[in-house]
């Protein structure tokens, strides 16, 4: 059960990494490279966790579809917010499905850091409120 949720989380990490790469064409921001590196590190540890648990990690898709077309800075920020919120939801899903304390710690960290990055991008986009009350919850 937790393996499936970790595969889902890996899927969102692949999507996040792809999105960060794509938006770098529109946003000249140090934080984009930073977010990209953090998602790459998270993807690697997630793949390692799956291999250690006898599962083949799912490969990334060739491309991902952001919720809205990305053509400029503001739409790039919106795509980043969306992908970080998807990441929050996936890692919260892992938290709800595991009693493994190491996996739980890692899922909580992934959830928290994604929520902070989503807040940062919402702030950059001038969204109000910038904060996310319950990251990982659809209505949050």
């Amino acid at each position: 059960m937790s393996v499936e949720s970790v595969q889902t989380a890996l899927g969102t990490e692949h999507a996040a990494l792809w999105t960060y790469g794509m938006v770098s064409a529109f946003l000249n921001d140090k934080a984009v490279a930073e977010g990209s590196n953090l998602h790459r590190a998270r993807r690697d540890t997630t793949e390692r966790w799956l291999r250690d648990h006898g599962t083949t990690p799912n490969p990334p898709a060739a491309a991902y579809l952001p919720p809205a077309p990305v053509s400029d800075g503001p739409s790039a920020l919106a795509a980043l917010v969306a992908v970080e919120q998807d990441t929050c939801a996936a890692w919260r899903g892992v938290l709800e499905r595991t009693d493994d304390s190491a996996l739980r710690t890692s899922a909580l960290e992934a959830l928290t850091t994604a929520a902070v990055r989503a807040t940062r991008w919402r702030k950059a986009a001038g969204s109000a409120p910038a904060s996310i009350t319950m990251p990982g919850v659809a209505s949050g």
Binding site: C88, W91, R92, G93, L95, E96, R97, T98, D99, S101, R104, T105, A107, L108, L111, T112, A114, A115, V116, A118, T119, R120, K123, A128, P129, A130, S131, I132, T133, M134, P135, G136, V137, G140
Partner: protein
């Protein structure tokens, strides 16, 4: 040939282990055993060992009340943070923080009440308003840092179905902290 000392030691050995119907020890180690058995008899030690759990069982007669729900402390903390943020009318993000922390408090309290329905329908006592700190903004930052830490630490010990809720609260507090950054 018996010496008077042998006679005394035999008497001590007989007295201490006679209930087990074992022959008195006559080994080299007997010397050591004799020294110990003179001060603390084996019977007394066995009795003490047997009686200790009995004494505990007798004294712990009434079942202790269940430990407080860890989520109720988090809910109280969220209510206190909301109060603190409400007092900060000068900070633009304070209203947002107050609202978010109220939501956290009600979600956490709902889970506490679901698991252990409250005896009476009284709402939990509102936290007494703390005196306004000299630097309320710094106090709010500290409170949110504390909230992230507390909620994160609590996640580790919770059953899985509660870990998601508290994990989101921790991440939500980190998000609020980022707004103030």
């Amino acid at each position: 040939m018996k010496t008077p000392a042998d006679g005394i030691s035999a008497a001590v050995d007989d007295q201490t282990i006679s209930f087990a119907r074992l022959p008195p020890r006559r080994t080299a180690a007997g010397t050591m055993g004799r020294v110990i058995s003179e001060s603390v008899s084996r019977r007394r030690v066995l009795f003490a060992v047997a009686a200790a759990p009995l004494a505990v069982a007798c004294t712990a007669e009434p079942p202790p009340p269940p430990p407080p729900d860890p989520l109720s402390a988090l809910a109280a903390q969220a209510r206190a943070d909301a109060k603190l943020a409400q007092a900060l009318t000068t900070v633009p993000a304070a209203a947002e923080i107050a609202k978010a922390r109220e939501t956290h408090a009600s979600l956490l309290q709902a889970e506490v009440d679901r698991e252990r329905p409250p005896q009476s329908s009284t709402v939990p006592p509102a936290p007494t308003a703390p005196p306004t700190p000299p630097d309320p903004l710094a106090a709010l930052r500290t409170a949110l840092d504390e909230a992230v830490r507390e909620a994160s630490a609590t996640v580790a010990s919770l059953p899985a179905y509660r870990a998601g809720l508290v994990g989101s609260v921790a991440a939500g507090c980190a998000s609020l902290r980022e707004v103030l950054a």
